[in-house]
Symmetry: C2
Subunit: 331 residues, 2 copies
């Protein structure tokens, strides 16, 4: 294990202390593993709460701030946050207009967010839930009934966050979040495994010269293990799988080429070049590109491609100002 | 080699094609390896040109845009850009007010930028040069007479870029760039080597359980190889070396905790927590923190810490708006 950590048991709380020290725009409680906008609760604004296992940074805490999430709950590495965290975050950001839970589709996450939503209803907080399940690689997986939630989570959080910031009602924000999820697809490829600190051994073995197509963000098995290909071959595999599930020809796309944590930016841009060419050749237009490590899997090498079929409204909301540690732009 | 690339010889030009496709704010010429602000030349504005070997992304091309660099020259991986690239970039951005070359202190870079500056003078373009040499780890190195230029390059480019944007004259921008370099120090630690694509073998060997203190950004040897430590021990080694060279007590600091390319963000925040605590305990105040992979070394695991002793003027210029692929903030 070549990790920049102290004790394996302290990774998440140490990282949260670092987040707190680096970002005065956030209220971080390393003890409970919750990260909240410093100006929460915002009276009359629908609040967005997400969360999940740690190890995917900047997802989710790096997306807390004006124009995106109101709060994030950080579970242990690759482990769902517990209901207590979720209800604490929900109550901290409730501004009286209801709270939207954005949940990646993993069994533990879905269950714990549901329990927290029930507790919130007991407190007279209206909660709506959207489950993100964008990963086309596998139908069910190690930790999932149905498809996994991966890169499109960022799209849902940004676009729904922008609508909430404009003052839309809970039902409208919920419907939009669902729409973004339905219009989005992802597919990931691993060139190396990663190691959960508390486990100390890699999540899987991958021989030199092999890669795993359709990998999840926790090292879950994908579709198949094949001979490692070039960036263009990897991108072709990912985009072909996406296109087979949701045709992209004629679409205006938001495209994320996402580094998985151990793949440097220069390689992500190599992959983006191939993706842009593939999509153009298949009749799609990339109108909003994003390249970087936004939904990672510890130090796993590889990349994930996520696409969203935009509408003029979705494009406008994507472009709306956002002010978080990991995504930041103005008018 | 677990790399997301096509042919090793095409890595830089493929990545530049990706950069061009992803950022319409840039004019990228993958053939010549130059990246220029789309609105260049800016009449009457001092232009900033930097560059160096590729493999350190987002440095330098990711810092091209309003408030920072006017152009960057991308050499082959870990290889200095050639004078032809530098003169092409210099001429492309010259707005009549002179051009500042920001050069990391490596022998090849210094030599090639000097040749380009002489060619520019023949074209009646006034060029000033600032050499960045912030790395306290070693006095001379494999590729350097004197100290290496590493993380402070980002500080120099951002702060001098802000002053140039305000309309300051060349001599003033040059003096400020020099001041930022003189007030900055860096120290890096590697937990793994990296592999130059064209070479195919790691830059050095590091046994499991070892780390290299004072590593350069090209896998050059550092000060010593020791037993791998905790994040707190690594941060203590880095900050102790910096503090011994430039005391930080009583200072208001800009601090970068920089991932080297293969270390994920969660670990960078673990390191930042330790750095913030160390600095507070030693009487420094961190007024501007930055955490992320900004000056990388391909997929090397580890981190570098860079600090700059701010003045009110430097803080104001650091805060000034910037609009580049990798650094972006508004007023």
């Amino acid at each position: 294990m070549r990790k920049l950590i102290n004790a394996p048991a302290d990774v998440v709380s140490d990282a949260l202390r670092g987040l707190a020290a680096a970002h005065s725009s956030l209220r971080v409680d390393p003890g409970s593993g919750t990260v909240v906008r410093a100006d929460a609760p915002r009276r009359g604004k629908v609040a967005l709460v997400s969360g999940g296992g740690s190890g995917h940074e900047p997802l989710h805490a790096g997306f807390v701030g004006p124009g995106m999430l109101d709060a994030a709950c950080a579970g242990e590495v690759f482990t769902s946050p517990v209901p207590d965290q979720i209800i604490a975050a929900t109550m901290a950001v409730n501004g009286g207009a209801g709270v939207l839970h954005i949940v990646k589709n993993y069994t533990g996450d879905v269950l714990n967010f549901r329990m927290a939503a029930e507790l919130a209803e007991d407190e007279d907080i209206e909660v709506a839930t959207v489950v993100v399940d964008d990963d086309v690689a596998v139908q069910d997986s190690t930790y999932t009934a149905g498809r996994r939630g991966t890169g499109a989570t960022l799209f849902v959080e940004k676009i729904a966050g922008a609508l909430a910031e404009e003052g839309a009602a809970l039902a409208e924000v919920e419907a939009l979040a669902r729409e973004v999820n339905e219009r989005s697809r992802s597919f990931g490829v691993a060139l190396s495994p990663c190691t959960v600190p508390a486990a100390g051994t890699p999540t899987f073995e991958l021989a030199e010269g092999e890669m795993e197509l359709g990998i999840g963000i926790h090292g879950e098995p994908g579709r198949e293990r094949v001979k490692a290909g070039t960036a263009s071959e990897i991108v072709d595999a990912a985009l072909s799988a996406i296109h087979a599930d949701m045709p992209v020809d004629g679409a205006e796309l938001l495209v994320l080429v996402n580094g998985m944590g151990g793949t440097p930016l220069i390689e992500q841009y190599v992959a983006y070049a191939a993706a842009a060419e593939w999509l153009t050749a298949h009749g799609a237009t990339v109108v909003r590109p994003l390249v970087g490590g936004y939904v990672t899997s510890l130090e796993m090498a590889g990349c994930m491609i996520s696409v969203c079929r935009l509408t003029p409204r979705l494009t406008r909301l994507w472009d709306a100002p956002v002010e978080t540690p990991a995504l930041r732009w103005g008018r």
